[in-house]
Symmetry: C2
Subunit: 362 residues, 2 copies
Amino acid sequence: MERVYNFSAGPAVLPEEVLKEAAAEMLNYNGSGMSVMEMSHRSKTYQAIIDEAEKDLRDLLNIPANYKVLFAQGGASLQFASVPMNLMRNGVADYIITGQWAKKAYQEAQKYGKVNKIASSEDKIFSYIPDCSDLPITDNADYVYICENNTIYGTKFKTLPNTKGKPLVADVSSCFLSEPADITKYGVMYGGVQKNVGPSGVQILIIREDLIGEKPALACTPTMMNWKIQTDEKSLYNTPPTYGIYICGKVFKWLKKLGGLSAMKEINEKKAAILYNYLDSSKLFRGTVEKKDRSLMNIPFVIGNEPLEEKFIKEATKEGLTSLKGHRTVGGMRASLYNAMPIEGVNKLVAFMKDFESKNSL
Amino acid sequence: MERVYNFSAGPAVLPEEVLKEAAAEMLNYNGSGMSVMEMSHRSKTYQAIIDEAEKDLRDLLNIPANYKVLFAQGGASLQFASVPMNLMRNGVADYIITGQWAKKAYQEAQKYGKVNKIASSEDKIFSYIPDCSDLPITDNADYVYICENNTIYGTKFKTLPNTKGKPLVADVSSCFLSEPADITKYGVMYGGVQKNVGPSGVQILIIREDLIGEKPALACTPTMMNWKIQTDEKSLYNTPPTYGIYICGKVFKWLKKLGGLSAMKEINEKKAAILYNYLDSSKLFRGTVEKKDRSLMNIPFVIGNEPLEEKFIKEATKEGLTSLKGHRTVGGMRASLYNAMPIEGVNKLVAFMKDFESKNSL
């Protein structure tokens, strides 16, 4: 099979030119005589790679000087513990539950302190984002936590919650670098890179300096999860996932060449509109979330008839439209339209859906 | 510069044929139409990759059925906390200190319980392995900890310590798969793969089943470090470092084709002997550790004259013999002769050293 259009929710499609460059450099990076995989993380060549990756990321997101950038490991799931371990100085935090990942973060944080669920959309299977303009923020909360884009359910915060002065901690794994963001509105922005940025196994954190104390909040924090040590060592406390960071760096360059995050947002809006407009007009398929909260990245849709959904997924796969199965906890279909999904992929998907609709009815 | 002979202590040289295969498959793995980097970790194609990697590893090390294999993240440094968190049911452990990494593990474990230093070679800058045949093992110790091969100092345990029935936990990062091992002698064998096995960012653990309780020993253990959950989920609790595991799988196949770990050991002994024999005969260079404890993997050596050492490293680099600088905490030189270092590389290094010796004297 030729290259397919891969709608996987993550790990996910990467820019073809990034993969081509990586392949070409696999045995000999930039005249170094070795693969980036084989390179000491203490070498000058590697230092230049990670420094440039950080610089390009800072450019893309316009990260202020009082924010530290950290390349880490362990996925968002490890940060579910790192966040309370580092930040829970009062032992209290507020969580807004808009999907499975926010819920998992909330459950994990309960190991480390008093955790309040201050809003949730679980009543309607996480199909909307609750109004967060005036929530009962806890007086001594160390932070307010959200998952900004919900990969499984396909919703996104279009307005950040009013945290009433408390630091906002946001897991942005599935919307990272998909559009501009005002970093100053966040205490901590973090995400796994395996959706919009690179291969799995790299985690990027952007942390407001004053939130990093001399020590983490909790004494039981493993050194590897200690933000003070990790940021002081500039992500090189131990061997980082060197190859993954190198691929992220290439994706940052690709984004800059494209025109940065405003240009990327425009493309992402165009792509999502093609699919949403069709869903809104279709008699067979329908979207599952409230229109105002629709994600540009993850678009779940259903027919409401399981055998027909299976048929759809099977036939789409044959056409080179792959990984369209919805999350195992939800069912139906989901098309993830991350940065690297070309517009041709969305056009081909919608053309196929129209054709399928013309041949199948409920 | 053409491909060099890369003596880096890690990340380190990988088999050229593995890199060539990875480059060839970068845009389209096995007809899937996508890179392994782009592939859902829940896809059948990826499941086959990780299953086969585990199977090949089990074959290579002859891992008994009552041991679990785990692909994790965070490097050995994160395991320095995971080990006590999972195993310290009595809150007590014994550590043998033979280098910086064992020392770091010992220091980290002190956060979580009572930790005894039962032997150390720090008195002679870690240049030997202490006699561990009759140590004062603590009655209620949950485990005895070693770092089996000391990357920085170039020593290796040739005989495992007598743990008097307590489970042995061994960090094997820098000797992993360099020779056969009797897994039944270990409670937990673990290591980062970035020396002998693959790119940094993957950690392999081999854990005796009965040491994995229903819950970790400590309630503060992050879910990502919970061995019960991680092994129940077969390394797929969250998104693992998929691409790194794929490269490890290729290295396992390369080792099997070579004849397995006995064949690998023979080659490693041959390579190390070339360098050690020369060091023992040289009037300029000398090895730094006790002969009986010499590592096959990491061979530190010195001239004892800093300007001459700098000159040596500089001229060697020009000849395509790279990353020979000793660890920043030790100085001098170090040649790491991991599995993938071809014998030609060692021959070229020794020829260059002889030439250098003939032209330079103290």
